[in-house]
């Protein structure tokens, strides 16, 4: 934008909204720590090859079922593979599946919720009954069906989990949109001639977003858990690929003999899920408009 003398009009906001949100988030210690931990996890997932001390399937027959030590901080499994390396390399699988699954659910579910909530009437009825049916279907059965038709693999695992979560996003979005669509500013925008598309994208969705963002964070936790569960059942990641859920399943047989086989992948799942949940709670507080005006009002 050109800053010329005479017309000092800037169409840009004084402080961008997202920066304000980040600032508020930083003041919420639990959420801030969770966010940092998750960031660290993402970095681990990206640089897993460099970070892992060994390859995932480097078998050392001499060092089978070794308890945690200096050489193998998390111990080794029944084939002598380094557990730390497998946990590190499993991070990518878990997060990838989580993000993709939630991405699918977010995109489709939010779209459906937006249309149902905004247009109401028969569109609402039709779409939400469809969602109810999807919701009523046993999740594991649905996932098994998807995986049976399309075969296993992390992409299909994500698709299966994503489909299961579509109704959740549809419902959250619809509920939020129902409140926002009655707002006077939406009517005001319509009164100056804005199209439905414009109302939806510029006014309704941005204002309906906070609960969806919170739901995203919480669903990520569930998706990571779901991936682990499916892998545990043998439907997700296939051996010998490392995955937290799969490692948990494999370690199950040795639980009385070598607790570290199940313990470390279990902790990884626990921490990731906890962080996503805490971040969700923090976001819920920060995105609450009441809290925002109270805290941000002074910044003029």
């Amino acid at each position: 934008m050109t800053a010329e003398v005479g017309a000092p009009v800037s169409l840009r906001p004084a402080t961008p909204r997202w920066r304000e949100t980040l600032g508020l988030l930083a003041h919420n210690p639990t959420a801030a720590v969770s966010a940092l931990l998750l960031l660290a996890l993402v970095l681990v997932a990206i640089f897993d090859e460099t970070l892992a001390p060994q390859g995932p399937n480097e078998v050392d027959v001499a060092a089978r079922l070794e308890s945690p030590s200096g050489a193998h901080p998390f111990g080794t499994d029944d084939l002598g593979r380094d557990i730390l390396s497998r946990v590190v390399l499993g991070t990518g699988v878990s997060l990838r599946v989580g993000f993709l699954a939630v991405g699918i659910a977010l995109l489709i579910g939010t779209g459906i919720g937006l249309l149902a909530g905004f247009y109401g009437r028969w569109i609402d009825d039709a779409l939400m009954r469809l969602m109810d049916m999807l919701f009523a279907f046993p999740a594991v059965l649905l996932a098994i069906a998807v995986l049976a038709v399309r075969g296993t693999g992390w992409g299909n695992t994500a698709l299966a989990i994503g489909i299961v979560y579509i109704p959740v996003f549809a419902r959250v979005t619809r509920a939020s949109v129902l409140g926002v669509r009655e707002e006077v500013y939406v009517r005001a925008s319509r009164s100056v001639g804005a199209s439905d598309w414009r109302l939806l994208t510029r006014h309704v969705l941005p204002n309906a977003a906070p609960p969806i963002i919170v739901q995203t964070s919480i669903s990520l936790a569930f998706a990571v858990l779901a991936e682990a569960a499916l892998s545990f059942l043998g439907l997700g990641t296939q051996p010998p690929d490392p995955s937290w859920g799969l490692m948990l399943a494999e370690g199950r047989g040795f639980i009385d003999l070598a607790w570290w086989l199940a313990f470390f992948p279990g902790m990884a799942i626990f921490l990731t899920v906890l962080c996503f949940n805490l971040l969700g709670d923090g976001l819920r507080d920060v995105l609450d408009p009441k809290q925002r005006t109270l805290m941000a009002g002074g910044g003029r």
Binding site: L294, M295, G297, G298
Partner: protein, 345 residues
């Protein structure tokens, strides 16, 4: 004059806010006699509502610091133990707020809510309390009072709900009735009914009334005495005739000038623009030094305006019992408001 029902002395309220301490009420003193109506007038943020919430102990304790004295029939409300305050709120002081739904429980019948109030403050059996409740609803002009006992708040119109709230407030014949913008949400015809009702009940029972409003028209009809608040202070008080007919403080003059007036006919067919008070009221976190009204005052000029808060000083009125007072350094009583021609931002 009889002993006052309520005597407020140097009431101060400071609220803790994220933006620092806010001095919402800064030294407010007034008294309400039996059967007397004192109107507290001011715009939003003037501290008028907070001042009564503070009296009745309805401000959140961790956030508000209240000092001063507030004697209700000789007992200080501000130092009272919480249990005693709860006892006093029924028979001592009744409250009516702007939105009747905030005072009514939506899931309980009207009858149950009134009966509860009566039984909480007196040893009455259920049947007697119910009879009394029906009587009260009749008194406040509800058609079919007995039938109304078994109805829920949402089944009544706004005006009827406000009558129910008044019935609850009056159920223990309080010495003091506090009405905070009680008729603001109502239509004028219903407002007229409610005001008539309060005046009638007041005459019968000798209740002292504190009527908080921004509507100077309502004040003219209901008040004996008026207290104009600005920036947490009383800037002018006196009898309703003194304050509304001969306002002295530039703010009071500004308020009156800003009112479109049905009784003030257009001159030569041309309706003049309304006078306005320029600017906006000060934030309680950031009150100006000197006179609170100084930054918006159209007649400022005295050297003390910027540095010294003018005291409430008696003006004119000969009657020492009903003094007309104003807090201003302004001595020019002829001009008061900015000419409407000047724009402002």
């Amino acid at each position: 004059m009889t002993a006052p029902v309520l005597e407020v002395e140097d009431l101060r309220v400071r609220l803790r806010t994220p933006r620092g301490p806010a001095d919402v009420v800064n030294g407010l003193s007034y008294r309400v006699g039996a059967g007397e109506t004192v109107a507290v007038v001011g715009e939003s943020g003037s501290g008028k509502s907070v001042s009564v919430l503070a009296l009745l102990g309805l401000l959140p304790a961790g956030i508000a610091t209240v000092t001063g004295r507030a004697l209700l029939q000789g007992e200080d409300l501000l130092t009272m133990a919480p249990e005693r305050l709860r006892q006093v709120r029924g028979p001592g002081a009744g409250m009516v707020f702007q939105d009747p739904m905030t005072s009514l429980n939506p899931v309980l019948t009207i009858g149950r809510q009134i009966v509860e109030g009566i039984r909480a403050h007196g040893d009455v059996d259920k049947a007697a309390a119910r009879r009394r409740a029906a009587e009260l609803l009749g008194e406040v002009g509800l058609p079919d009072p007995v039938g109304a006992l078994d109805r829920y708040p949402h089944e009544l119109s706004g005006g009827m709900r406000q009558r129910v709230v008044i019935a609850i407030a009056l159920s223990n014949s309080p010495a003091l009735l506090v009405a905070d913008e009680a008729t603001t949400a109502l239509d004028v015809t219903v407002q007229a009914q409610i005001i008539d009702l309060v005046e009638k009940l007041q005459a019968e029972r000798g209740t002292g009334v504190v009527w908080i409003t921004h509507d100077l028209g309502v004040v003219a009809g209901i008040a004996d005495r008026v207290l104009v608040m600005y920036g947490g202070r009383c800037v002018e008080d006196g009898t309703v005739d003194d304050v509304l007919e001969n306002p002295v403080h530039p703010y009071t003059r500004g308020l009156l000038g800003a009112l479109p007036d049905l009784a003030r006919p257009a001159v030569g067919g041309v309706v003049p623009d309304l006078a306005t008070v320029p600017g906006v009221p000060p934030a309680p976190t950031d009150l100006p030094a000197g006179c609170v009204f100084w930054p918006r005052c159209p007649v400022r000029g005295d050297a003390r305006c910027e540095t010294e808060q003018p005291p409430l000083a008696v003006i004119g009125s000969a009657d020492v019992r009903l003094p007309h007072r104003a807090a201003t350094w302004c001595t020019d009583r002829t001009s008061g408001t900015e000419s409407p021609a000047g724009g402002f931002r």
